[in-house]
């Protein structure tokens, strides 16, 4: 079920993409990262398409036709905790979702791991762009 937080997620990911554009070191780290990532929050799908380390577009699902390289599936409350200024233990890293059973990673995990610092720092940008 959506709470008041989830309807704004597409805008939140877009703001994170804008914040990403202001991080030259992430442009460098993501220079070889041109992939679509599925982020699914409480069953709602968001397809984030990156090109050479820049977030080109955010497309809301559902979609059965959008190919993606890897997926992060998580519940909204866990994601909200992850984006707290100082997240509590187990919610401070995307792998915490997996460890606590609050989320899962699917697809080409090696593609994620090869770009792990880039993707983790992109996801953490939500801490500075999240809306109250």
């Amino acid at each position: 079920m959506k709470d008041q937080y989830t309807p704004n997620l597409a805008a939140q990911f877009t703001r994170m993409g804008q914040a990403l554009a202001e991080k030259p070191h992430l442009a460098r780290l993501g220079a070889l990262f041109s992939e679509t990532v599925l982020i699914e929050v409480d069953g709602q799908e968001y397809y984030l398409t990156f090109h050479r380390g820049a977030l080109e577009r955010v497309t809301e699902g559902p979609s059965r036709q959008t190919p993606w390289r890897f997926a992060l599936r998580v519940d909204a409350e866990a994601l909200k905790k992850f984006w707290a200024p100082i997240p509590e233990p187990r919610f401070h890293d995307i792998f915490g979702f997996v460890k606590t059973g609050r989320g899962r990673l699917d697809g080409d995990i090696l593609a994620l791991v090869k770009n792990l610092r880039f993707f983790k720092e992109f996801m953490a940008l939500g801490r500075i762009t999240v809306t109250a």
Binding site: P89, R90, V113
Partner: protein, 282 residues
């Protein structure tokens, strides 16, 4: 701020030891005088994790801290012939390395302090080889941790294992740890030799020989103090509590606001907990 150049009190030397029948040139840093404390680093890193303790003048007034780089780590070279072998650390090799170091350095009843895989070895030594030691400080330590990742990620021809390893272990670092300390901690993983982190994890994630055995530790002779950070996702507080509960007389400290690399990721937060641990060694 003006920085005035000064040497740190840490000194480094090399010692060649016979381990597993082969010569291993080992790099050792030390500082201080008094009760010896031999300090071991985590998987995939090196003795720089201990540099803040070795630079702590109040502690080194009463303790002599000795921090080796295990073979294959830091400035310790792998043994001759490494180029054609797969590095896979075993419990037996780690234990042999510690015992031979203590003997070769002539340490009189040292305190053993080790973090992560070094903490696991603290428990192995406390159970099976306690005699040379005064006590054991087992940091981020548990009886067993299966892998929650694929250790083969960290040694591949098509990607940089060190950078991937650093990005993975950042999951175990508390977000409130100071940025320079978080990143210098990750730098050690970025620098580690090809396949070394994977080879360390080999025994750490597969050897479950301590499970059910730790009741045999005699803490009246050699105290065991387990420390764990609440942001550690590899060895969680629950893992450390479970382990401490199986060792009669063991003590446990859960450190708030710190993760799996407490000595280097947040030296100021770690310091009072480590002082408490040293005091528990008698």
């Amino acid at each position: 701020m003006t920085i005035h150049p000064r040497f740190e009190p840490i000194t480094g030397r090399y010692l060649t030891l016979q381990i597993g029948g082969r010569a291993n040139r080992i790099y050792i840093e030390e500082a201080g005088q008094g009760q010896p404390v031999i300090c071991f680093h985590t998987a995939g890193a090196d003795n720089r994790q201990w540099r803040h303790i070795l630079n702590d003048g109040e502690l080194t007034a009463n303790y002599r801290f000795i921090a080796p780089d295990l073979p294959w780590h830091g400035k310790s070279l792998p043994p001759d012939g490494f180029e054609e072998e797969e590095y896979l650390l075993t419990t037996e090799t780690y234990v042999e390395t510690v015992l031979k170091l203590v003997e070769a350095l002539g340490l009189d009843t040292p305190i053993y302090a080790g973090c992560s895989m070094g903490g696991r070895i603290a428990l192995q030594l406390a159970l099976n080889h306690p005699a040379p030691f005064k006590g054991f400080i087992a940091i981020e330590a548990s009886d067993f941790q299966p892998a929650w990742y694929d250790i083969d990620w960290f040694h591949r021809p098509d990607a940089h294992g060190g950078e991937m390893g650093a990005a993975l272990v950042s999951a175990n670092i508390a977000p409130q740890s100071p940025a320079p300390d978080r990143w210098s901690t990750q730098w050690m993983f970025m620098q580690s030799g090809p396949g070394v982190f994977r080879g360390d994890l080999n025994f750490y994630t597969r050897d479950d020989s301590l499970v059910g055995q730790l009741g045999g530790i005699d803490t009246s002779q050699t105290p065991v103090h387990i420390m764990v950070g609440d942001y550690d996702m590899t060895c969680t507080p629950e893992d450390a509590e479970r382990t401490a509960a199986t060792i009669p007389g063991a003590t446990l400290a859960v450190m708030k606001g710190i993760g799996h690399f407490p000595m280097s990721e947040n030296p100021a937060t770690f310091r009072p907990h480590f002082i408490e641990a040293l005091a528990k060694m008698g």
